[in-house]
């Protein structure tokens, strides 16, 4: 089985601050990779690098075998069509209704008639439990609903790779569990490759086939949840023990 995502000695700085230092890891196709780490350890940056939203300063990033480093927006588009990205803040388009947010990628990348697109968007919204909110504007939604709407939009193109930034941050445990369940379903039923950034260890344990731990720009530990629970690093063991972090 080939790797969906490969990081090869990737570094990234913002001004004088070095966020990632020579990171290398791989996510196999159909795998579920969870990135752990303290706040500001570079987890979200890693996700954005995968999607090409940020450019790596050094190293190579391969998505489905294609090197994406140095590509501009237009060159990235074919790859991005197969990637779904759920942002931490959901990043719904304020000017469009929830339904239109979900329909947006469909309208742009398919030639389907309007009715069909609406049906499809409604179906996806139904999956995340927001079928009734098609006409609602994003500003009127609660945090959890936004997250689910964002997930619906990320799923709209049935991506092969899903990048999820903090799926449960700021949500109550029940909603958080629902979202986790959605992701597990996607993973098992559609064989999507998942890359999830989270602080929520129970959630991570449920989702992950593999975990990585970022600290101070270094990937200091990688393995199954069990392996990480017995890591040589105190901070990793400490982290894995906590029931609820962040």
């Amino acid at each position: 089985m080939s790797d969906a995502i490969t990081f090869n000695g990737v570094s990234k700085s913002f001004g004088p601050r070095e966020v990632l230092k020579d990171i290398s890891f791989a996510v196999p196709t159909g795998g579920a990779y969870v990135l752990l780490g303290r706040s500001g350890s570079g987890k979200s940056v890693t996700l954005k690098l995968i999607c090409g939203l940020l450019k790596a300063d050094a190293g190579a990033i391969l998505v489905n075998g294609d090197d994406i480093t140095g590509r501009d927006s237009n060159a990235l588009a074919p790859i991005r069509k197969h990637i779904g990205f759920l942002f931490q803040s959901a990043a719904l388009f304020d000017s469009l209704s929830v339904g239109e947010n979900v329909a947006f990628p469909l309208r742009r990348h398919t030639n389907k008639p309007d009715g069909e697109i609406r049906d499809q968007a409604t179906a996806i919204l139904e999956k995340v439990g927001l079928a009734k909110e098609f006409q609602t504007m994003p500003g009127a939604l609660s945090g959890g609903m936004r997250k689910r709407a964002g997930l619906a939009r990320a799923l709209a193109m049935e991506p092969a790779i899903l990048l999820i930034d903090e799926p449960s941050a700021g949500l109550d445990p029940i909603t958080s569990n629902e979202i986790d369940q959605l992701l597990i379903d996607l993973h098992t039923n559609q064989h999507a490759t998942l890359v999830v950034v989270t602080h929520n260890i129970p959630s991570a344990r449920r989702l992950a086939t593999r975990l990585g731990f970022l600290d101070d720009g270094h990937l200091i530990a990688e393995g199954t949840p069990e392996e990480l629970a017995h890591s040589e690093h105190d901070i990793v063991r400490e982290f894995m023990k906590s029931q609820q972090a962040g």
Binding site: F85, A91, D94
Partner: protein
């Protein structure tokens, strides 16, 4: 015993001066590249018709009431001032002509440009700034959409299209406002007024000043989009982008206008029909 420290030497005066002027130059260079990219992207497929239309609606149509009202007010005020001056020479019949010259040649385009840089410049700066800090621009990119093409090029293009249209609207509502003021005082007839207003204008008095507002539109669009698109720092950053959009696009507009007026005078010497 004192502890030996290895601090970097303090920066020299020259160095700090160079740094302080380097930042604005760098910023300006960025703006120029941004503008160049905007021009390039405007002509690149696919054309975002829906978005262009939506922006034309917002920038053009939604500014129309502002322009019409301002035009009426500016026109009537100009007319009153013109009357006060020309009355002394007994040249009241020149009022429509003088007003038309003032409005069509300079006041109309410039006031339109400034009003739109206020309304639309702030709007674009805030909107794109907001989208940037709430990751909506990233979201667009993640959905395989070229955000520059989709957000910036469309807005710049809409500005370039809307400005001349709004200028025409401003000119006519200004003349209408002038007519109302004039008709109230002297009872001048509508046909005479408009005949006299256009009586001494040449095409070179009407077309180039109207067309130059395309440049105004481009300046407003690119400056405010640049500031919004590259905003950072949360809500405060958005506010800063919005304010700077108005300030900078207004300044650029006024300064570039000087060049444009000279350029038009060079292309169309006085009296050329």
């Amino acid at each position: 015993m004192p502890i030996a420290t290895t601090q970097p030497p303090p920066p020299s005066v020259l160095q700090s001066f160079m740094e302080s002027i380097a930042a604005p130059i760098e910023w300006f260079g960025g703006l120029c590249l941004f503008a160049a990219q905007a021009i390039r992207e405007c002509f690149q497929r696919p054309f975002e018709w829906t978005e262009i239309l939506r922006q034309t609606y917002q920038i053009g149509w939604q500014s129309a009431p502002l322009i019409v009202l301002s035009g009426l007010a500016v026109g009537s005020v100009l007319s009153m001032h013109t009357r006060a001056t020309l009355e002394r020479f007994g040249a009241e019949s020149m009022i429509p002509t003088a007003l038309a010259f003032a409005l069509v040649k300079e006041t109309g385009p410039l006031v339109t440009g400034l009003l739109i840089s206020g309304r639309v410049g702030a709007g674009i700066g805030a909107e794109l700034g907001g989208m940037r800090v709430t990751e909506q621009i990233d979201a667009l990119e993640s959905l395989a959409v070229n955000s520059f093409h989709y957000l910036v090029a469309t807005r710049v293009l809409a500005c370039v299209v809307a400005l001349p249209l709004l200028t025409v609207l401003m000119n006519f509502s200004g003349l209408l406002g002038g007519f109302f003021a004039e008709a109230t005082i002297s009872g001048m007839s509508f046909p005479y007024y408009f005949h006299a207003a256009f009586g001494s204008l040449a095409f070179s008095d009407f077309i180039p000043p109207t067309a130059k507002t395309m440049v105004f539109g481009f300046l407003i669009g690119t400056t405010s989009a640049y500031l919004g698109y590259n905003a950072s720092g949360g809500a405060e950053g958005v506010g800063r982008a919005s304010t700077q959009s108005v300030v900078l696009s207004s300044i650029f507009l006024i300064v570039v206008n000087v060049v444009l007026v000279k350029f038009i005078a060079f292309l169309f010497p006085v009296g050329g029909a």
